[in-house]
């Protein structure tokens, strides 16, 4: 565990990409295959089967620390991480231990089926042997979520350097459904045939936001425009007579979208599409709002009623694999032409549709499309270079997203709560209200959008202007006005104000605005009428 802990610390304490990549590459050169395999797995969100419940972990942690459970539970939200909270409250380790990472994982696996007593003995023994970061990592092996400040991209780059292999090929190998329990370092990284897993997706090509407008793009004729739909970006894979649906977050969502099974009737085997999952009722001009998709994401399997109420189709943007061949290297123009041919004969009831391209000749045309995006239920435009290959990850230059300006409203801060983890000692979570005569009606919370400097300033102010405390929440003097940006608004009987916002965040601290100039409940209701 020591080598892995040293790697973890090196990555964790640095903000510099080169230092992280160097530390990873050095580790990949020196470590055993099985430790390397587990390292990649852990850093990409995979973990050993959970051997101990977090409830037990909390109880044992509090017990060993000699503190009441409520006190432990009160510390947890402040620290923001269960594994770390336990590591911090425990007394110092009594001895040290030389087992490597993979050995600890094996030992953890060995108690998976053991009874509670044996598990407890094992965990308490580990806590007595491991200190600091090693103890934190041990806890993380149980609780999961060992994502550190290292992206898949950086890890792949380090791996490419350590193994002398192509970065894009490695990125593809690391995608999908693999787990250290059923593969080896050799099979995953080195073996000739990397396509053994039929469900393996391609890395998504992601776009950067277009700053300014499309005027910045030279030669409009070199570009293609399409709607940026407001759904779930997904990859549909048809291989070996089966279908697989992946989210951009590399989550396999096949069972949540059974209607896509019929895609195999309309498209040949060996096809992979990049598109947007949308709720779209047959015969309507626009997709339904994003919130209609939410019940579909929330559950692993879908009841019949919901399939009727919220039917999902994939609107295809791009073609990544055709007749079993990886076509990502072809220019977008050619991939798109092939995609259009494949979709040409698609009947109305097919669960896959071609996402249209938007014809334009000048930037002004694009502005006109974007102005109509909200009506089309899109969240903006995508601009793609016609000759661009389908790249892996977020790359600058070929693809741009040009999103709608958000909706905004000026609101008054009335409650403040301190953040957790990164911002444990700052007030970062605020509740905002609109004016209704003399009254203030709370309508949303927001906790991001300010700079650290602004958070420090508002924290000092909150301390001095607290009217009342409700546990961790402080009611403050209504004084500061913030411009709240959000992506959507809908009626919600659960909220006092009668509305719920989508992605609310603080756009600006309006220190120039007095309380009396904050927006009113009437303004909010007018927005609901217009955009709800």
């Amino acid at each position: 565990m020591k080598a892995f802990a040293a790697l973890f610390t090196a990555i964790d304490q640095s903000t510099k990409t080169t230092i992280k990549v160097n530390a990873l590459a050095e580790y990949f050169k020196a470590a055993d295959d099985i430790d390397k395999l587990w390292t990649i797995a852990l850093f990409s969100g995979r973990r050993p089967k959970r051997a101990v419940s977090t409830t037990r972990l909390r109880e044992w942690g509090a017990e060993v620390a000699g503190i009441p459970l409520w006190l432990f539970e009160d510390c947890y939200p402040i620290v923001g991480d269960l594994a770390e909270t336990i590591a911090l409250v425990l007394p110092p380790n009594q001895t040290t231990d030389n087992r490597p990472l993979s050995q600890w994982i094996n030992d953890l696996r060995a108690v998976y089926k053991a009874d509670e007593t044996a598990k407890k003995v094992f965990v308490l023994d580990a806590w007595a042997r491991l200190g600091g970061t090693e103890r934190f990592i041990f806890n993380k092996l149980i609780t999961g979520g060992m994502r550190v400040g290292v992206s898949q991209k950086l890890m792949t780059r380090a791996l490419a350097r350590a193994t002398d292999r192509d970065e894009a090929e490695l990125a593809h190998r690391l995608m999908g459904n693999w787990h250290p329990d059923d593969t080896t370092w050799h099979a995953l990284i080195e073996a000739q045939d990397a396509s053994a897993d039929a469900s393996r997706p391609y890395p998504f090509h992601l776009a950067y936001a277009l700053e300014g407008g499309p005027e910045a793009l030279e030669h409009p004729a070199d570009w293609r425009a399409e709607w940026k739909w407001d759904g779930i970006r997904g990859q549909l894979i048809l291989r070996g007579g089966e279908y697989f649906v992946w989210s951009r977050g590399e989550e396999l969502m096949t069972d949540r979208f059974p209607e896509l099974a019929r895609a195999v009737d309309y498209l040949p085997d060996g096809t992979v599409l990049d598109g947007e999952l949308l709720v779209w009722h047959p015969g309507t001009a626009h997709p339904a709002r994003f919130n209609t998709l939410q019940p579909r994401i929330g559950r692993k399997t879908v009841p019949k009623k919901l399939l009727k109420e919220a039917p999902v189709v994939l609107h295809a943007y791009d073609l990544l694999e055709w007749q079993g061949e990886d076509v990502r290297h072809l220019p977008f123009r050619e991939r798109r032409a092939q995609l259009e041919t494949a979709c040409a004969a698609m009947p109305e009831e097919a669960p896959v549709k071609l996402s249209p391209q938007l014809k334009f000749s000048t930037p002004a045309d694009l502005h006109a499309y974007r102005d109509g995006a909200r009506d089309a239920q899109a969240e903006g435009l995508m601009l793609k270079r016609a000759d661009s290959p389908y790249l892996a990850g977020r790359k600058k230059g070929d693809w741009w997203k040009w999103k709608l300006a958000p909706l905004t409203i000026d609101a008054v801060m009335i409650y403040a709560q301190s953040g957790s983890g990164r911002r444990a000692n700052l007030f970062t979570d605020f509740t905002f209200a609109v004016r209704d005569g003399e009254a203030l009606v709370p309508f949303t919370k927001a906790y991001s959008g300010l700079t650290d400097k602004e958070f420090r300033e508002i924290t000092a102010w909150v301390r001095k202007n607290t009217l009342q405390r409700f546990g961790p929440v402080r009611q403050v003097t209504p004084h500061h006005v913030f411009e709240i940006a959000f992506e959507g608004i809908q009626a919600s009987p659960r909220h006092k104000s009668g509305v719920a916002l989508r992605f609310p965040r603080m756009l600006r601290w309006r220190q120039d605005k007095p309380l009396a100039e904050a927006n009113t409940l009437d303004d909010l209701n007018e927005m609901l009428r217009l955009y709800g």
């Binding site: 304490q13 006190l71 432990f72 402040i78 620290v79 990164r422 911002r423 444990a424 000692n425 000092a460």
Partner: protein, 341 residues
């Protein structure tokens, strides 16, 4: 509480009716007893100040021309109907707990304190009392400080590593107390210690009052990474990453604070390295100090007051939260005049 408490908590600060004075007031009053020179405790504008002899030089340095009188640790003074004395708090040089006795009832306002002997401040001495006013900046069981020599080893290892790699090490620390403590922990064999003017001015004040500090060099504009290779630079946190710091590049930056115990805060604020070191008591230190006072009534100010108070009540004390404008160890004080770390 009796009908006539020895100390009360007013909007101006902690008030003693029998002696008609305030302790660490945050609004203008006539008579102020000051626990220590940090700016959330020693504020400008009071009619008269009383503080330890050791705390006064820094207070004068920061507050300018004030009417102030010094008192020795342990010296008893009768003020109106109260007997007042100052006792070491171990927080920064000159810091004190203030003991107030009226009619046989004893209250102690501890200001900020730590239990660990830092080698510079007069070490904390528990004072028996009936009522104890304690801070709880780090009043959670997740805070446990390692011994000072251990942290010193981390610090020097980091510095040596930077120096060997041809980089300057730059450490952010508040200029009163923490900076001098860190300087005293450094191994002078590794390289020169350069101080930002805000730090060096406070060093000078402390040296003038007889506190021994290792040799430091004022980092004026002629001092750079070229003229002083292998250097450690001590600067207020606000100077980290500023234009001022550029001439020491290439550099690695670090930050020293009790808050560095939390990974999330460390990742946000530490720069390249975070060192867990504080001039406030950790969880065990707070509980130890409270037990030593033998007080039954505990008043909890700044920090995790609600949680800490609940725990004390559960353990049999009669504890309550009192409102405060003290900031504790504020990692995010917007300037160096803020409470020190």
């Amino acid at each position: 509480m009796s009908s006539n408490p020895v100390l009360t908590f007013t909007p101006e600060g902690i008030y003693c009716p029998a002696g008609d004075f305030y302790i660490d007031p945050w609004r203008r009053v006539d008579r102020a007893m000051i626990t220590h020179g940090h700016s959330d405790h020693a504020r400008w504008g009071m009619g008269r100040y009383l503080a330890t002899h050791e705390a006064l030089p820094v207070m004068r340095h920061r507050l300018g021309d004030i009417e102030a009188e010094g008192i020795a640790y342990g010296e008893r003074r009768v003020i109106g109907g109260a007997i007042v004395s100052f006792h070491p708090a171990g927080h920064v040089p000159g810091s004190a707990q203030i003991r107030v006795e009226v009619g046989g009832e004893v209250w102690v306002a501890s200001g900020d304190y730590k239990i660990i002997d830092d080698g510079l401040s007069t070490p904390f001495e528990p004072v028996r009392c009936h009522h104890f006013i304690t801070e709880s900046t780090f009043g959670l069981p997740v805070f446990h400080w390692e011994p000072q020599q251990t942290v010193a080893a981390y610090l020097n290892d980091w510095w040596r590593g930077c120096a060997d790699a041809g980089k300057t090490a730059m450490l952010g620390a508040y200029s009163l107390g923490k900076a001098q403590r860190l300087i005293s922990m450094l191994d002078p064999e590794i390289g020169p210690v350069l101080c930002h003017a805000a730090v060096e001015n406070t060093n000078a004040v402390m040296r003038a009052q007889g506190i021994t500090l290792p040799e430091t060099i004022l980092a004026n504009k002629d001092v750079t990474a070229k003229t002083h290779p292998r250097a450690m630079v001590i600067a207020p946190p606000s100077a980290l990453g500023s234009a001022w710091s550029k001439r020491f590049g290439p550099l690695e930056s670090g930050f020293a604070s009790g808050w560095m115990a939390m990974r999330g805060v460390r990742r946000r604020r530490a720069g390249d390295r975070g060192f867990i070191i504080s001039d406030h008591a950790d969880w065990d230190g707070l509980l130890w100090a409270i037990k030593q006072t033998e007080a039954e009534n505990i008043y909890v100010t700044h920090g995790y007051t609600d949680i800490f108070t609940r725990y004390l009540n559960e353990q049999g004390w009669n504890a309550q939260v009192v409102p405060t404008q003290f900031e504790g160890e504020s990692l995010d004080a917007s300037d160096d005049s803020g409470e020190a770390a």
